[in-house]
């Protein structure tokens, strides 16, 4: 391919400067990436994109003619466009809810094993949170030791997955007016697994034909994720590994080091990675690395495992979803450790162009071509050390001529847990509430979600983020969105200069960036807690606050669940890519307007970042007006 064309192609694909030279390399050397696969997938089927393809049973597959007049209007079973779209959306939503919640369960199980003295290398690092959570869910703390309390929390949380008490403890964190709305709509989440199982039941043929009834259950299932599975993942990770505090670190592919053993921690669950962080500090490992000619061991994160480690340990982060294959294309990664979620099945193929080894660690997530070193809490630390040893040995096989590390990393600030934000505000949310009331901060937006190669990498996040802070809207972020902002320099206090005067002065006074990194994608639950705190302080429901959500570059089913629990909790949410609902006008109408009467919020779809900012600002202005501020 002609060099100038490669350059043009690269410019169309990403705005991440550290990604560009590596994208160039993949195009020059014919290493296939997600962007190439997107190209090869064109055209993508319109029935699927519109949500009009039903491939659930063997009377099908069926598809509905979206042009009304001519073709089939019902599947073989009789389902119309509304029903097929609703079933498909519910399926996507609970796939996401299941992913978050199953991740949560593993963290809780690790807490249980730790409390029982059966895990290896773990301890309870945040006692304050241990007591707070215990108190909240009615576990006695007085006169008891930490492990007993931890055991009770773990058992109580594990029970939440299948509880028969018909409510989820942590959902009581929502302000009362919000809970009242849920009760009225019949969407109070009853247990984590139950809502997911019931969803799978409901999308079976012949279980209801009312699209609205199906979608309402979707909201309930999403609440069991946001205020259940995800929130438990966050809280228990905090208990085990510490609640994040504000800290500085580095981001982009330049965090990989030419003269060190590079280990990339990729995926979502921090339980094994925390042990890897411990293991690389052992003198034995450092000595071994030096013995093999490396200056040391360099640990970097990728995606949300990366976010977890960044938030708590300040481990640098190499990038978000679309950076995973490019990190391998540096030729400098010795081992990439994967747990699960958002790991491209193709990474072993990219790795095979270099000396790199992919190490899979979850029984759930095996990848052909990877070395499988299975993680269990009982042997976690040994496994971590063995993987680090493997990385050091693999380093020896690295070909220095093939190493291409692109750019200098960018500095960033992370660690903005709800607790850390409160601390930065001086121990109370009042200064933030005052700033919102006096208008120096107009409102806040939770910007979350992934990368999607259909949109130039990070362009959606960064453009919308800049546009919002310019309008004095504080942005809080998780997941790939936060990593995008980090790469673009928005997670630094200096970025406040790009903000409007009001937000700028607040950021300067507190020494914080205008965009706050709140964690991984399960940590969207932190955004819910923050919203609940603000609502309680003002004695209103979440839906009355000047808040919004945004997912400009989303791809995953988890994002569908997050957007849904944002909306169900009362947060207006703008999606940057159309979800698979456009085959049904009724479903669109319900989701983009009808839900207002049910939960006080709706979804919107707007790919253009500036237009999305306009929608959000308008929404925030109207909420401010209603509140009389």
């Amino acid at each position: 391919m002609d060099k100038s064309l490669i350059k043009l192609k690269v410019e169309e694909r990403t705005i991440d400067e550290s990604a560009k030279p590596l994208l160039e390399r993949t195009l020059e050397e014919g290493i296939e990436t997600a962007w190439d696969r997107l190209e090869k997938q064109q055209p993508q089927c319109g029935f699927g994109q519109l949500g009009l393809c039903c491939n659930r049973c063997s009377m099908g597959p069926c598809r509905i003619d979206p042009f009304e007049k001519d073709g089939p209007k019902r599947g073989v079973c009789g389902a119309d466009a509304d029903l097929i779209v609703a079933r498909n959306l519910l399926d996507d939503l609970v796939t996401g809810a299941a992913a978050h919640s199953d991740h949560g369960r593993e963290v809780v199980e690790t807490l249980l094993m730790t409390a029982e003295g059966k895990s290896q290398g773990y301890e309870i690092l945040d006692k304050e949170k241990l007591y707070t959570v215990a108190k909240e869910i009615g576990i006695t703390t007085e006169g008891r030791n930490d492990t007993d309390i931890a055991k009770d929390i773990a058992l109580s949380f594990l029970e939440e997955y299948g509880t028969i008490k018909n409510s989820i403890d942590l959902s009581k964190r929502a302000p009362e007016p919000t809970q009242d709305k849920w009760a009225k709509a019949g969407i109070l989440p009853r247990s984590v697994d139950r809502e997911i199982v019931e969803a799978m039941h409901r999308i079976h043929m012949g279980v209801g034909a009312d699209y609205a009834n199906i979608l309402l259950h979707g909201l309930r299932a999403s609440l069991s994720d946001g205020w259940g599975g995800s929130m438990m993942a966050t809280e228990v990770s905090d208990i085990l590994f510490g609640t994040p505090e504000i800290k500085e670190s580095w981001v982009n592919l330049g965090t990989l080091k030419e003269d060190m053993v590079n280990i990339v921690l990729h995926g979502h669950n921090p339980v094994l990675s925390e042990m890897v962080v411990k293991a690389v500090k052992e003198q034995e490992m450092v000595d071994l690395a030096k013995q093999k000619g490396a200056k040391g061991i360099n640990l970097v994160g990728m995606c949300c495992t990366g976010n977890e480690l960044l938030m708590r340990r300040g481990i640098p982060i190499a990038g978000n979803l679309l950076n995973q294959e490019l990190a391998l294309a540096t030729g400098a990664v010795d081992v990439m450790i994967i747990d699960y979620q958002c790991i491209f099945p193709s990474i072993t193929q990219v790795a095979s162009c270099f000396h790199t080894k992919i190490v899979s660690t979850s029984e759930k997530s095996k990848v052909p071509g990877a070395v499988h070193m299975e993680f269990h809490p009982e042997t976690a630390y040994d496994t971590a050390k063995n993987i680090v040893k493997l990385a050091i040995e693999t380093y020896e096989q690295r070909n220095p001529d093939r190493v291409k590390i692109p750019a200098k990393p960018v500095k960033m600030m992370a660690g903005f847990s709800v607790e850390a934000i409160k601390k930065a505000l001086g121990g109370t949310f009042q200064p933030l509430i005052d700033a919102i009331a006096n208008g120096s901060i107009k409102g806040a937006v939770g910007m979350v979600g992934c990368n999607n190669p259909k949109i130039k990498q990070d362009y959606g996040h960064v453009t919308l983020g800049k546009e919002l802070i310019k309008r004095n809207i504080l942005v809080v972020e998780t997941g790939c969105a936060a990593i995008a902002s980090g790469k673009a320099g928005l997670l630094l206090p200096e970025a406040a200069d790009l903000a409007g005067d009001g937000l700028k002065s607040v950021c300067h006074a507190l020494g914080i960036p205008p965009v706050l990194h709140m964690g991984s994608c399960v940590d969207c639950s932190r955004i819910l807690v923050l919203a609940a705190e603000l609502a309680k302080a003002l004695n209103v429901g979440i839906d009355q606050l000047p808040l919004a959500g945004a997912a400009p570059e989303w791809y995953s089913q988890k994002a569908v669940s997050i957007a849904s629990y944002f909306v169900a909790s009362g947060v207006y949410t703008v999606l940057g890519l159309p979800p698979k609902i456009f085959g049904s006008k009724n479903v669109i109408d319900l989701l983009t307007s009808g839900l207002n009467d049910v939960v006080g919020a709706t979804y919107a779809v707007e790919p253009g970042p500036v237009a999305a900012a306009d929608l959000i600002e308008k929404h925030i202005d109207s909420k401010r007006k209603d509140l009389g501020i």
Partner: protein
């Protein structure tokens, strides 16, 4: 003149026509057995991405006069009078490439066929055996949205004209009736925006790298 009429607005890129075409030109004429045939049957219709995520099902239009037929030095391409279609006599083909070069639609490719030593020209044969049995081509039958319609061109166009007259006059009288459902229009508008924000071809002020790379540029359009 009877032919396949393509209603571009109704193509949603499902590629069902491609699958149906390959099945029709397989020896078992069945999806599952088709995958085991060697060489695997190839579709003679091709749905490719245009700008703004729109798609176009492209196939031989059975031109008259047909440029391919006129340039073929060995008379391997002929017009079947009964069905008024352009056909390839594979055994005569010398793989010279002339027909493919002059085809205004790029609808001719080369393929290994059972019992022939060379790669021969293959293109849409308008499912001639189906036509002879009074059926429409497989791609048309497979098209769920009726983006592909088989019939007398003048009749199809007359139908289209009637629709246009009705719509225009309705509009003048203030009763605008949209041909396209509202939700699909909204979806297409969003796709236009998505294309503008990423690497997929967009109609809006962007250099289209893929077009340049593949050389599928203006010279084809000038025909």
């Amino acid at each position: 003149m009877k032919n396949v009429f393509i209603d571009l607005e109704k193509c949603i890129g499902c590629r069902h026509c491609e699958v149906a075409c390959a099945i029709e030109h397989s020896s078992g004429k069945e999806l599952f057995s088709m995958y085991f045939e060697v060489p695997r049957p190839q579709p003679r219709i091709s749905v490719k991405l245009g700008v703004d995520l729109m798609t176009f099902p492209n196939k031989c239009q059975h031109c008259d006069p047909a440029p391919c037929m006129e340039v073929c030095p060995v008379n391997a391409i002929f017009r079947d009078v009964k069905t008024d279609t352009v056909q390839v006599q594979e055994e005569r083909c010398i793989s010279c490439g002339m027909c493919a070069m002059v085809c205004p639609y790029g609808a001719i490719q080369y393929q290994v066929r059972p019992n022939l030593p060379n790669e021969v020209a293959y293109k849409c044969d308008s499912c001639i055996s189906r036509l002879e049995n009074g059926k429409e081509p497989a791609c048309v039958e497979a098209c769920v949205t009726n983006a592909l319609v088989f019939g007398e061109y003048n009749e199809i166009i007359a139908e289209k004209q009637r629709g246009i007259s009705l719509n225009l006059t309705r509009e003048i009288q203030g009763y605008k009736e949209e041909e396209m459902p509202e939700n699909i229009k909204a979806f297409r508008a969003l796709q236009r925006k998505v294309a503008q924000l990423g690497p997929l071809p967009s109609s809006q002020n962007k250099i289209n790298v893929n077009e340049k790379i593949k050389g599928a540029s203006k010279r084809w359009i000038s025909h």
